[in-house]
Amino acid sequence: MNSDKRSELLRDLTPEIEKTGRSWYVVFGILLLVFITGIYGLIQQIDKGHIVTGMRDNVVWGVYIVNFIFFMGLSYAGALVSGTLHLFKTSWRAPVIRLAELITVISLAIGPFFIFFCVGRLERIPYILAFPRIQSPIVWDVIAILTDVFGAAIFLYVSFIEDFAILRDAENLQIAPWKKKMFRILSLGYTGTPKQKKILTFSRNVMATMIIAIAIIVYSVLAWIFGVTLQPGWHSTIFGPYFVIAAVFSGVGLLIILMAIFRKIYHLEKYITLKHFVNLGIVLFVIAAFFGYFTFSDYLTKWYGSVKMDKILIDKLFTEFRTYFIFANYIGILTPIFIIAIPKLRTIRNITIAAVIALLALWVNRYIIIVPTLETPFIPIQDTRHDWLFYSPTWVEWSLTAAGVAVFGMLFMIVSKLAPIVSISELEEADEKNAE
């Protein structure tokens, strides 16, 4: 690799590793405040119990589970996108693959906490591991998530090794000694010898393959938690693939949003171009079409079957929840399709707006999968108080939701201080291929 080119890459892609700007502290401080508010909410919940949330005997899963599914979906989508881009050696992957990998790990670090917020007797959590019943989809999910956590961490680390070695050897960078030491340890003495390169490439390929398989299985398991129950709206054979498609939809949306944010903040216009947005936009378009097809198929069969409880649920979705339904399943699907289908509209801003809409719509989609079903139990609700019949999230739930988003941002910011957000080694490899 040309040393001038590498210096240029290091200069462009590691601005926060060398020094921390004031704006970094300001943004981090704001996110920290949001996080602290969430912690205050959590203390209230632990102190007073779940009565401070909107959850009651019937709607026992609310915004927390919505967030759990949402973050886990982002994680699996990150894994699917990064694994696929890597395995298929997609030519334009270099600037975006690291972001996808980070989405995988960071979302996975946040998602499961929302399960803990949902559980009333946290001290009983270890029983799941101590006395597992492997017939239970909950146990499948715990095993799957634990497996995924290790897999995603190894995948991310393996993809970082070359960049750690580059940063270790970068003499022009003004890096704190502890960071240098960290890069030296984490790079495992990698110097790019043919044998090391071969082993590393093999390992990355293995992990990319595994991470794709695990993402599909684990998110299907999550879907089966709903699908294997007989609850109206959940008991569906297509929930596994439907959830996986939905996850990729939201994950691609988030990837586009992060690309736009980091492109703007770190001035990466040279590396993350319109081409990347359009390519991912087309992925978003295709996935939106599939997602729309699955959604239509799921609701059509339920509606046509006219089973009493399904009918009540669908009536509810088109009356009480119609605004959510229209946003999640019409605006959220059709807007990205519309924007990306028309070449003239394919600008970075428009594609980013389409991604924001897709992401928000997917969150709302999860909400209308969870809440209306729980408000439609087979056995009549044994209480007529309004908050027992109708779920409505409280400030505690919103504060913890906001805290989850804040932690997502904070972790991305912390990672940007420790390692490049765009993979230097991938860009070098892409440059070498272009030169050939």
Binding site: Q135, I154, G189, L200, Y324, F327
Partner: protein, 288 residues
Amino acid sequence: MNKVPLKQTLITLLIILGTVSNASAFPVQETKISPYMLFTYLKDSDSRKILQVKMTNITQTGEKPLPGLRIGFYNNENLLEEVITDASGNAAHIISDSTILLKADDGSWFFTAVFDGDSITDATSGELSILDVDIEMKLTEEDGERIVTLSATAPGADGPVPVKGEEIGVYVPRMFSLLPVSTGLLDENGFFRAKFPENIPGDSLGNLTVIGRFNENYFYGSVEKREVTAWGTRAEKSSPVYRSLWSTLAPKWMVVTLAIMLLGVWGHYTLVVINLIRIKKESRKKKD
């Protein structure tokens, strides 16, 4: 790159925000609830006389209990007690022995239960006319057979008078309701005899509760006598464990599938970790 005016972007976002903010509105219930009142009378095994009300709202999704409603229990025009319905929509008044109940000409008591209505629930009421009656129950074994003998008497001018021709039954309480063991009519002397089966499960000692009962009788309401006896079969302390979805042992195919998947995945993880160690070793070799 094609530029899109900021105004256009903001309008798009405003539409989205407007859509989402509207979504928080919940429908408000506009029509009043028309409650259903189930008013019953029970004379229990301790001869306590209990007036019971269950208030429910019958909807498309089934019966929903109505808690927090004030129910007035009356004997003729005399208020006995006002009771608030509980979470299950139930309210009950136990008539104390010291209460003097007014009787009609035929010797029956006339009870009413009244809910006066409130801002969200319509008023409703129920009425019962009850003749007092007593039940006696004897459990005996004759020639190896278990016999339940029920007799019923009503108070008369010259002492207790046998109740004739009314349906009475022997029951055993199960998890959700009373299991009818035998039902029939009282004979001329006010007696009913029933053979008790030998195969009804009891607890671990074989104990079960036998109930002799008028069940929601038109004249007498529900009147019962209970007795615990060891006429049941003994419940097994432990049942055999077999592999199934609902037992403590998972089906074999499930265990095998999970094991293969976990071994496959964690095997690959191990392989990659070994490779990372090899990379480290390779760098040491190079240094040497």
